[in-house]
Symmetry: C2
Subunit: 247 residues, 2 copies
Amino acid sequence: MKPAGETLAQHLGCFGELPPEDRAALAELKAEVRDLPRQTDVLRRGDRPTHVVIVLGGLLYRYAVGPGGGRQIHSFYLPTEAPSVESLHLDYVDNHLGAVVHSRIGLFPHDQLHRLIDERPEIRRLLWRQTLVQGAIFREWLARNSTMTAYASLAHLFCEMFTRAQAAGLTNGNSCALPLTQGFVADALGLTAVHTNRTLQALRETGAVEWRSGRLTVKDWPKLQAIARFHPHYLHLRSNPRVRRKH
Amino acid sequence: MKPAGETLAQHLGCFGELPPEDRAALAELKAEVRDLPRQTDVLRRGDRPTHVVIVLGGLLYRYAVGPGGGRQIHSFYLPTEAPSVESLHLDYVDNHLGAVVHSRIGLFPHDQLHRLIDERPEIRRLLWRQTLVQGAIFREWLARNSTMTAYASLAHLFCEMFTRAQAAGLTNGNSCALPLTQGFVADALGLTAVHTNRTLQALRETGAVEWRSGRLTVKDWPKLQAIARFHPHYLHLRSNPRVRRKH
DNA sequence: CGCTCGCTTGATCTCCTTCAAGGACAGTGG
DNA sequence: CCACTGTCCTTGAAGGAGATCAAGCGAGCG
């Protein structure tokens, strides 16, 4: 497997130009690699992390648990993505980070990253930007869960995950791994598992998308995108042919 | 009125210690001050701003307009707050920023702030942190709008706005200005104006809170907080007596 | 004085929840 | 090899939170 530092460089490269020296500096980062069994947490609310997490394999998710035991999932994290860069500048984390399925993560010590941030403005710029894109995703999820029907919401989630998988180089033709259960999706969309199931069936019948046994297959992207009203500008990806930036 | 640079310093001070030199450096920032009539926009989706906005008076809001014309409000911005710090590192903004009521804003040129960011690590840290706290607020709104009832959601919004007003030094005893219409609140909570109205009446009847003609009065904070299940940790405010951080 | 904007109320409809239960499948232990 | 168990998916029926449609009212304002 590629060293974790290179993976981080690849991820940051999704958001902007990264000079070769900076890329090399990232590649030299030492990361502790750790395996996470499914349904275990890396970070819990209130923790004061000393490392930044990068996903090397599997699937992570960020979530909060409400007083009634209800779980709100804030985001899913594919391999190459970095879910906790923000911990560099917040003294405690305000939600949980766990593994959906058995996963492998890398841990970069804060001090190493802070050194790079101090010395290399481009790395700083892209790390910062990465946290801002996270914020943009949260806003999009807010709008989606607040205003869209279950039907469109589900399609939207599929569009986003597929687009991000594409940016991460994880797609295989028109399909990618998405090892979630319907319960996880329900908690991301703010629905019940029952209704998610029924909505999924409706989506399947359109023939636009298939999602079975942990694998997502986009059979008709324009149709799926139309159902979801999906526009990837909020992901701030560069060099994705599908992304048309407004100038 | 206090110079805009000092206001920015005050705001950043809500999130962490700011050395006197840094505070002085901020205070020397030159800002263009501008008046905004109500219901006008400062930034529109796709813009490439050259300045960072700070609210000096009135009330701003960040929003997106869906394909069906539906408006999702992502946040409100009180005086002293800075809604567009993220534009320093994103090349285009992905939603609109407008004035709810007649407002006054300050505009800091990007290059001036970039200079401070390069030269003053503490300012950089707090500016970055400010953007991360924004992200935390979006996550909280996501969870609120996705999982809470209209009744609790409305209470939650009141709790948040009052707490933020307190941090900004804008409260007067147990009340603060909140010059919104019910339609704005509805679009923030993902409800209709009609249902917002009915929910508001239910909240009024509890005697916990009053919100009339643009002024919010918290008559029973513990009760309101209990209804909303409000915990301010996500605001990452320091030195707010009400904030109990988990260690 | 009339007009617009925002608040309020009523009646009906629907999307989603809740509760309940059956079935498919994998892992485990006898 | 086969019961046993848990997890996930699926389906049905009933109930509720909030949407939608429609209309009246009050206050600020040109």
